[in-house]
Symmetry: C2
Subunit: 335 residues, 2 copies
């Protein structure tokens, strides 16, 4: 920095002001300083800045590398965080790199807040952490003091799906759930409540799943092995829906003519031309914004009460659901 100042023929602190674009410096000096910096390949040392400023302006994001939707959120977090004046630092949880190390890295960088996208944090550690940094859980809510939650209203999302299917004329609608994955409980509730509301309580049936293609495939095989096939299937998420769909297709069924299948997340895979899945889109921009807003409120406006922020999703109608054909008494074999 001293070099840059020398080269630009100005003082060190002017360079400093210019780089964090503080008011004061004239356009002329700015230009000269930037030119000098560029020639010297200089950029401010974040570590030194953090140290001196006594704050990092860092938001730590803890995520896993296997949930596409989480990755999408990460993507959307960047611009929103930047607009609020924060830097996003990523730390991945992997099978061999557990939450503990990932959190330590984030804390070591003095992140002012943690955004947790992964599912597994035990409540005790979570509440201990919450004493040191602001925390937002994304996608689920564990009700721990000092922790906010931002998530989609999955009950509503599934209501859209149930309503849509019922309007198309379906009654035998089963749900392949997501076990204890984030949001899965809400989605189950949404399914049960709304089947109920439509007077379809007798048709309620939940098959176990876990948000993977393979779990969808298993559920589909099981359904195919039975005498009667439901006319519609609500999968816990898109990946699961694709698993269901592929097994059905390989069994010679046509989607949606023979069975309607709907998913959840509006992920990249649901948009593929040959999948074209009716699904529910989470409002990812709103979610990202809410995450950052919640954090800013805590950090800058000293909010201490906990918030549980729920964002409405939206039904995305594609071609994987249609009025049912009456094939409840037929049976099929697996390809």
């Amino acid at each position: 920095m001293t070099d840059v100042a020398a080269r630009a023929g100005v003082s060190r602190q002017l360079v400093s002001m210019i780089f964090r674009n503080a008011p004061g410096p004239s356009p002329t000096s700015r230009a000269r300083v930037f030119a000098a910096a560029h020639e010297l390949g200089y950029s401010p040392d974040r570590a030194a800045q953090m140290l001196r400023r006594k704050r990092s302006a860092h938001l730590g994001v803890l995520f896993t590398l296997d949930q596409p939707f989480d990755l999408d959120l990460v993507e959307h977090l960047y611009p929103v965080a930047e607009a609020a004046g924060y830097d996003v630092v990523l730390s991945a949880m992997t099978p061999i790199r557990q939450e503990r190390q990932a959190v330590e890295q984030l804390i070591g960088y003095r992140s002012e807040a943690l955004i947790l996208l992964g599912p597994d944090l035990d409540p005790d550690r979570l509440s201990a952490l919450a004493k040191r940094v602001a925390i937002v859980e994304f996608g689920r809510r564990m009700v721990v003091d000092g922790v906010d939650a931002v998530r989609t209203d999955d009950v509503e999302g599934v209501r859209f799906l149930v309503d849509h299917l019922v309007e198309l004329g379906h009654r035998a609608i089963v749900h392949v759930d997501g076990g204890d994955m984030p949001g899965a409980e809400q989605r189950r509730t949404g399914y049960r409540q709304n089947m109920d509301r439509h007077g379809l309580q007798e048709w309620i049936r939940v098959l176990p799943g876990d948000y993977t293609e393979e779990s969808g495939a298993s559920a589909a095989r099981r359904l195919l092995s039975e005498d009667r096939l439901p006319s519609a299937i609500i999968a816990g998420n898109d990946r699961c829906a694709v698993g269901v769909m592929e097994i059905m297709i390989r069994a010679g069924l046509k989607i949606p003519q023979d069975v309607s299948i709907v998913g959840y997340d509006d992920s990249h895979i649901s948009r593929l031309s040959y999948v074209d899945l009716t699904t529910v889109r989470q409002d990812i921009n709103a979610l990202a914004q809410q995450v950052i807003d919640a954090l800013v409120e805590r950090l800058e406006r000293r909010r201490t009460s906990d918030r549980d922020i729920v964002v409405s999703p939206q039904l995305v109608v594609r071609s994987s659901a249609a009025p049912p054909r009456m094939l409840l008494n037929q049976s099929f074999s697996i390809a």
Copy 2:
């Protein structure tokens, strides 16, 4: 840190030594210091450490969120980097957050080296960067001074596939390529060379693709619209292979009885029970290790010559390829 020292009844510098486990401190003091640190929720400030040590021991990883294989590599980079004494810092490139900002973040943290997993860096900027930090390109080689490359021997990988298919009796083998994606050129070369070697030059045919399911789907539709179907298809990667497969299946074909399809990457999707794709596995552990080794050589052993490190892959035989049925004169319509 002063607080911890006070609480443990030792000196500040003892605490410092203990935290970076330098030799000297007795087990007793270690225990006391760690206990005190735990009670106070203390962990060393990385920024201050970096500042004082005059090195970050950081490896910056530039990656995109949409290539599953890159994400796998990230996962494997963590333990290897840690073993070598480095911390991994992640910076994602997204459609709205270009290479420039991502690189700036990494440089701002004083990363000693950059690991580039994404495809798009222009050579000029790359060579400018290479003057400031060590760089490893992963998955492709752009031949820029001061930049190492670590990648799979894709020519060999495709050779395995061609050999496998030829052994099964295939001759009409087409390739859906990856355009200008990383490794795509090598894979094309491997296809051409080895078709040649088997005397199958007349059967050589490359369809354009880009490593996405949709590009596989397009290629498959095109093939189905023609009079003759090839007996085997080598897709540029697994995603592409799945796109091809799904369209074929929807057209009423059986895999592998009617067409053999093979992929590349051995990604999660290729292992799904209903996909079960014959593919090529990149040796991800070896790749991660080579990336770190290359960097360590440059950083600690002052190597200045450039290295292009090529790792052998491995054929993974599953059930999507089988001996051909003679259906070259039939035609099919798309479902």
